[in-house]
């Protein structure tokens, strides 16, 4: 038992820190501080920088152009990245984190050759078409159909919550190719360009007044059968593979640490009478409670990362990490706007799409948008209630 980072890992941390300090463009970090979603052109610029260093796909094996880093190294990278206000999402759209792993694990050689390089360079921007209006947590009930017609699938249906589809040129989605089998078994995983005729994208404005979500409609969309990744009918398995992976990432351990740092900075810059909010014992107590939760989350996360590197798949812990991580995200963003007091209630749209509160300090800009958008943190990626259902099943079965 030895939980200290190895000398190699410590050296790795220094390397990452130095690289990001020297190469992350100041304007991109600045936008990332003020806005929840980064502009696609900034994202492309940044991805190219990372790609040049060979770091544009931290989670991928070297073989496919990734870094080959261990999960622990990825965690270290993520920590340095977040502390430096690297932009979210980490890479362009859902290419690196979502569709890439499915393609290199289940895709054909041709698909690997065609799609992976353009993900690495950032030239393809992928969006995800999983959820449908009638099927949120109950994904297996999805209704979008893909019917074989000669060499093509004809797709009809509707997707919802397609994040950043308006920035994307590629989409991966789940569609039902067989209605005669059990709901989970008739689903396939398809990839195709967003400009394929018959696709309509309609913006959904979220409660933060921002546009990152969309509805995507398919009306007789014809795509070649080579759009199928892996086997027909196995889409459900691939999606579960992805969502399992995702639980670690969306717990946002490192990002919440950075949020807590900023929260204290906001309090330091928030005058109260003759002092500042940071002097207030009640505020301190609430911030400390969150910090302790983050210590816990980090300890849990490091262990899961180590287990991943050992090939141990700890589903129980991953579910708990997502559950607690999303609660902590909400606790720290909630306390951030509480700290802002009256200044946080001003909420003005600027030209670049960011939101602005005139009387708030710089460090607090963007915090209300973040708070509002992250109400979804306990909904997406398997809602809290869904995680609890999953956990109950595991625990009752003896996990």
């Amino acid at each position: 038992m030895d939980l200290a980072l190895s000398a190699e890992d410590k050296a790795f941390r220094q390397e990452v820190r130095a690289f990001i300090r020297e190469n992350l463009p100041a304007d991109i970090a600045d936008t990332a501080r003020r806005m929840f979603h980064t502009h696609p052109e900034d994202m492309l610029r940044w991805t190219k920088i990372l790609h040049q260093k060979g770091w544009s796909a931290p989670s991928w094996p070297k073989k496919y152009g990734g870094t080959g880093w261990s999960a622990v190294q990825r965690y270290i990278f993520d920590e340095e990245y977040c502390m430096a206000d690297g932009p979210l999402p980490l890479m362009a759209g859902h290419g690196v984190t979502m569709v890439g792993p499915v393609i290199y694990t289940f895709g054909s050689d041709e698909q690997k050759a065609r799609y992976l390089p353009r993900i690495l360079t950032g030239d393809d921007y992928w969006c995800q078409g999983f959820s449908e209006p009638g099927s949120g947590s109950d994904l297996a009930s999805l209704k979008t159909r893909a019917v074989v017609d000669g060499d093509e699938y004809i797709i009809n249906g509707q997707k919802i919550w397609t994040s950043l589809a308006h920035n994307a040129n590629m989409i991966f989605c789940l569609a039902r190719t067989d209605t005669t089998v059990k709901p989970q078994q008739g689903i396939s995983f398809l990839v195709f360009p967003v400009d394929t005729p018959g696709i309509t994208i309609r913006p959904i404005i979220s409660i933060d007044r921002g546009h990152s979500l969309n509805e995507t409609f398919f009306e007789n969309v014809r795509v070649p059968r080579s759009s199928l990744v892996g086997e027909e009918g196995k889409g459900w398995t691939y999606a579960k593979f992805l969502l399992g992976h995702e639980r670690f990432t969306i717990a946002e351990i490192a990002r919440s640490k950075r949020r807590l740092q900023r929260l204290r900075q906001i309090a330091r810059e928030t005058p109260v009478g003759q002092g500042t909010l940071l002097d207030d014992p009640s505020f301190q107590e609430k911030a400390t409670a969150i910090e302790i939760d983050l210590v816990m989350l980090e300890q849990m996360g490091l262990r899961i990362a180590w287990e991943m590197d050992q090939g141990i798949d700890n589903m129980l812990s991953a579910s708990i990490l997502k559950l607690r991580g999303s609660q902590i995200i909400q606790a720290v963003t909630e306390l951030s706007i509480e700290a802002m007091g009256y200044s946080g209630l001003a909420y003005e749209s600027l030209q670049d799409g960011s939101m602005f509160s005139p009387s708030a300090p710089d460090i607090a800009q963007g915090k209300m948008e973040e708070f509002l958008f992250l109400r979804a943190a306990t909904i997406y990626g398997g809602s809290t209630e869904t995680q609890q259902n999953i956990l109950a099943k595991m625990i009752y079965a003896g996990a």
Binding site: S206, G273, Q274, Y342, E348
Partner: protein
């Protein structure tokens, strides 16, 4: 002891429900907030004709001469329909401040115009460093040969962009946090030296940060130096009103959520059939009832002695703040993704509740204020 509404109060409730039902459906509201300012001149006239603007203004000055309970009834109805007209600013603060602090001449001049809807006021009290303290005021008024000139900065002056006059809380003596030396002034926002930085608030209304640079005040309201008592009394009343808005908003939100979980299906059944959803709905309703009891207490205590009044207002604000968090956050959670969209009313109630929670002092502030007041259980 009697918990019944009077006949007038019941009629007031009915007329509010009737009018709002006809004129304030969610799609009408959406059209309203797309405007600038995000409310309607026509609605304001209707409010006037129904007596709602003059609700607590004495009959002698053209009002109905009712009290805080009636204002609570209006607040609850307005909260349940997200009414955006500047009622809190102009009526709850504006008319009551003049009523509480103004001279007889000022009352006669302003109250009738407020009641008939031809004069709209906004109240500039908060400053960057004041957080929620009413007596932390750096803005100062200099006495001159023929009046006062005001200098300083105010933030989050609700409805300032559409107000005819501003009521400004400024210091005529003492240090920044002193409880004495505060005075109220009537200021014309078009006067030289007034810079208004208008913006949208998180709940799609309007407010402004205002800089006063040697601005000549139109009038001192009442007498010099003792404004805090009146401001505290009116703010406690405004808290009762705001809490009532919170109760109205929570009730609407819970009703919408209950209706949704009864029809939304997942895993082959209505999600409202799941026991955890049922108990969550119960939790929200419990919060509503707790907030309702406290809001009534705050409204009834508006005319009690200052200690009781302050205790009731602060306790109510804490309760409503806590409840608003629970109800708002869970209403979105129970709706899932769809609750995150600006197209549904859910997020708008959520954001209004955020405003209700913070305005006039957040949970932490009022818990501390409550703790500082004498208690029989100390």
């Amino acid at each position: 002891m009697d918990y019944r509404f009077s006949e007038e109060q019941s009629m007031l409730k009915d007329s509010l429900q009737g009018w709002l039902g006809r004129n304030y459906q969610f799609d009408q509201w959406r059209r309203l907030i797309a405007r600038k300012p995000p409310h309607s001149e026509e609605n304001w006239k209707s409010f006037a004709s129904m007596g709602w603007l003059g609700i607590t203004i004495p009959e002698a000055h053209g009002g109905l001469g009712f009290g805080a309970i009636d204002q609570m009834i209006i607040g609850e109805a307005f909260g349940s329909h997200l009414v955006t007209e500047p009622y809190l600013s102009s009526i709850v603060f504006g008319s009551n401040l003049i009523l509480e602090a103004g001279t007889e001449v000022q009352k006669a001049e302003w109250l009738p115009r407020i009641a008939e809807g031809t004069a709209r006021l906004a109240f500039a009290f908060a400053e960057k460093q004041s957080r929620f303290s009413l007596n932390t005021v750096a803005t100062h008024a200099q006495k001159t040969s023929n009046g006062y000139t005001i200098s300083g900065e105010k933030i989050l002056v609700l409805d300032a962009p559409s107000a005819d006059k501003l009521i400004v809380l400024a210091r005529t003596g003492g240090d920044t946090t002193d409880k004495t030396g505060l005075s109220l002034f009537l200021v014309d926002p078009k006067n030289p030296g007034v810079s208004i930085r208008a913006y949208s608030t998180v709940d799609d209304r309007q407010a402004a940060d205002i800089i006063f640079d040697n601005v000549v005040a139109e009038a001192l309201i009442g007498s010099e130096g003792d404004a805090l008592l009146a401001v505290e009394a009116v703010t406690d009343r405004a808290i009762a009103y705001l809490c009532a808005e919170g109760v109205g908003a929570m009730q609407a939100l819970i009703e919408a959520t209950l209706a949704y979980v009864k029809v939304r299906k997942q895993f082959g059944q209505a999600i409202g059939d799941f026991q955890i959803i049922q108990h969550r709905i119960v939790d929200l309703r419990v919060q509503l009832e707790c907030s309702r009891a406290m809001t009534l207490y705050a409204a009834v205590s508006a005319t009690a002695d200052a200690n009781e009044r302050a205790r009731a207002a602060s306790a109510a604000k804490v309760q409503v703040g806590r409840s608003a968090r629970i109800v708002g956050r869970n209403a979105i959670q129970l709706h899932g993704g769809i609750g995150m969209t600006n197209e549904l009313s859910i997020g708008h109630y959520f954001k209004r509740l955020l405003m209700v929670e913070t305005m006039l002092g957040d949970i932490d502030f009022h818990q501390k204020r409550f703790a500082s007041l004498p208690s029989e259980l100390a």
